[in-house]
């Protein structure tokens, strides 16, 4: 691949141009992350006076803690449901919009809007819609004899955060799927039509395989999103409850560290969470990517 090389008169200029981004990364990412790694090996007493180095004992304690392992399991369910739901619906919408000849731009704009909504706001929005006392949807569900109360039912709370988290991500996935669909050459579809493939078959045997790089990319992005960015959604809707029913890994980091002031355990959890995401991404690149490039 050819790369563009710029030449600068002043040798400090490129560093100055890079500096803002570097400083932001250092202050808001590298420094807190290294602090987290450091404090994951320490224990602070209840009043914050004394900090002692405890080695791996924070990690050992987390990994033998049933509530952590439960959170791990729930996060896995949450991640899979959100990813499948948001990618599935996004693909469906993208296929629909791609078939529309007129006003496709209009639909695209509308469908992209939710992405501009902050996670917390998205959470609040769904919290209102599903609110057992004032919400619209529980009222509707009541007609079907479904008693909706996510404050009591753990599985309903899980459904709520899944919908709220997926809703926001659909927009993002939709944009990428639409771009992917539009880059599939029309003549391939025509050739498949002449080759006797039904529209359904054409999609699954030609279009979908050609979309696989997009799908793969979105898979990684979505899993990262679920692991980290769904904090706001959970915080605004269920706050991890009822009980521990919607306590995902990222929310547990917050609960144990900020609310429970157990900095050592919380730091160790955040390091583990990062490790899990890195591992997942690595596995995906290692084993999936080589199948998706044709």
């Amino acid at each position: 691949m050819q790369t563009k090389r710029s030449t600068y008169q002043n040798r400090w200029l490129p560093y100055c141009l890079l500096a803002p981004q570097l400083i932001i990364t250092l202050v808001f990412f590298i420094w807190p992350a290294s602090q987290a790694v450091k404090s994951s090996f320490e224990r602070t007493d209840a009043f914050g006076f004394k900090t002692t180095f405890v080695g791996l004992s924070n990690y050992a304690r987390i990994l033998s803690d049933p509530s952590y392992l439960n959170a791990l399991g729930r996060t896995a369910i949450f991640a899979v449901s959100v990813t499948v739901l948001s990618m599935g619906l996004a693909l469906l919408l993208a296929v629909c919009v791609n078939r529309v000849l007129r006003s496709a731009k209009f639909y695209t704009t509308l469908l992209v809007w939710p992405y501009a909504v902050a996670p917390v706001v998205a959470g609040v929005l769904w919290w209102f819609l599903f609110n057992p006392t004032i919400g619209l949807l529980p009222h509707v569900l009541d007609w079907f004899d479904i008693n909706w109360n996510h404050r009591v039912s753990g599985s309903q709370a899980m459904i709520l955060i899944t919908i709220a988290a997926a809703w926001k991500q659909i927009s993002y996935n939709f944009l990428f799927f639409l771009a992917g669909l539009q880059s599939v050459p029309k003549s391939l579809i025509e050739a498949a039509a002449i080759d006797g493939a039904t529209p359904f078959k054409r999609f699954w045997s030609i279009v979908f395989p050609l979309l696989s790089p997009t799908t793969f990319f979105l898979l990684i992005i979505n899993i990262n999103y679920v692991m980290f960015d769904t904090f706001g959604v959970i915080d605004a809707t269920t706050g991890g409850g009822p009980g521990q029913a919607t306590m995902t890994l990222v929310y547990k980091v917050y609960t144990d560290g900020v609310a429970g002031l157990n900095i050592g355990s919380s730091s160790a959890q955040s390091v583990l969470l990062m490790g899990i995401v890195i591992l997942l991404t690595f596995i995906q690149f290692r084993y999936v990517e080589r199948r998706v490039n044709y």
Binding site: L188, E190, A191, A192, A193, I194, G196, A197, K201
Partner: protein, 351 residues
Amino acid sequence: MASITLEGIKKTYAGGVQAVKGIDLAIEDGEFVVLVGPSGCGKSTLLRMVAGLETISEGTLKIGDRVVNKLEPAERDIAMVFQNYALYPHMTVYNNLAYGLKNRGFKKPAIEERVRKAAKMLEIEEYLQRKPRNLSGGQRQRVAMGRALVREPAAFLFDEPLSNLDAKLRVQMRVEIKQLQRRLKTTSLYVTHDQLEAMTLGDRLVVLNAGKIEQVGTPMEIFNRPASMFVAGFIGSPAMNMLPVEYLATRSADNLLDDLPAGTDIVGIRPDDMHLSAPSAPHLVVDSTLELFEAAGAESHLYVRLAGSEQPTVIRTGGGEPPVNEGETLRFYIARSALHPFNRESGQRTG
């Protein structure tokens, strides 16, 4: 195997733009017909209508005895070779060929047999397990052909299949397509903008211009007797020279031009009908200035400016040295029988 009949086929796009303005054409069973014309003349649209990729606004299209206006492409029993080949990039060559057969419910052994047969015919057996991206342009072209003929359809449709190849490969594939069609005797409709490709491939040519047929005929009929000034200018390279009758009348001493058909005000002369030595038949004599001599090996092109006229004109001669130096006077002779009479206003041949 089937004939293809077009009756009053029209294509009108939303907004009232007419791309194809009423085409009547009967393609016989086993015939190789080439649609040729400049870009935007509607030839690709016409082909895509036959394929079923564009709806037919008006008219009747028959393949064999069936009216296929409303049928899906797959039900029309045709195969198409696309300009960009449209090979499925994620499938091996074998699967590219087998895809259409699988969709039609062929059994595995039957697919295997047909794919092998087609691959052998096109000499792509070695590449069956490769993906299209690992093939050269010419090999991809063959795979695209293979995908068409493996299904043994009633008709082949070609949409400028050679335009993505380099000049040498284009000539080679042209010959192969012709030989293949001779062997299979499958009705073929071929679209191109290249008049040489059209001349060499087609049993019959259909010259299209602005959505209408200008002329239908065998390549030599069209070359020898172009029906309009458009066809005269489009078929043959270098293009036919067009000279006003008044000018030629001033150049010919005797009354050679008196028997031109009524309405003739311009005559076409092929560059190779202008000779440097006088023929024995009745002829015109024209003096000119040689402006540029172009040697192209077996033939040479002489760009001349006619005396007493600003009209640039091309003469084609056999190869060799220029008869006179550039800038000097060149006399050439045109046999009376080589004149193609046209009417400038209607653009049509007068006789």
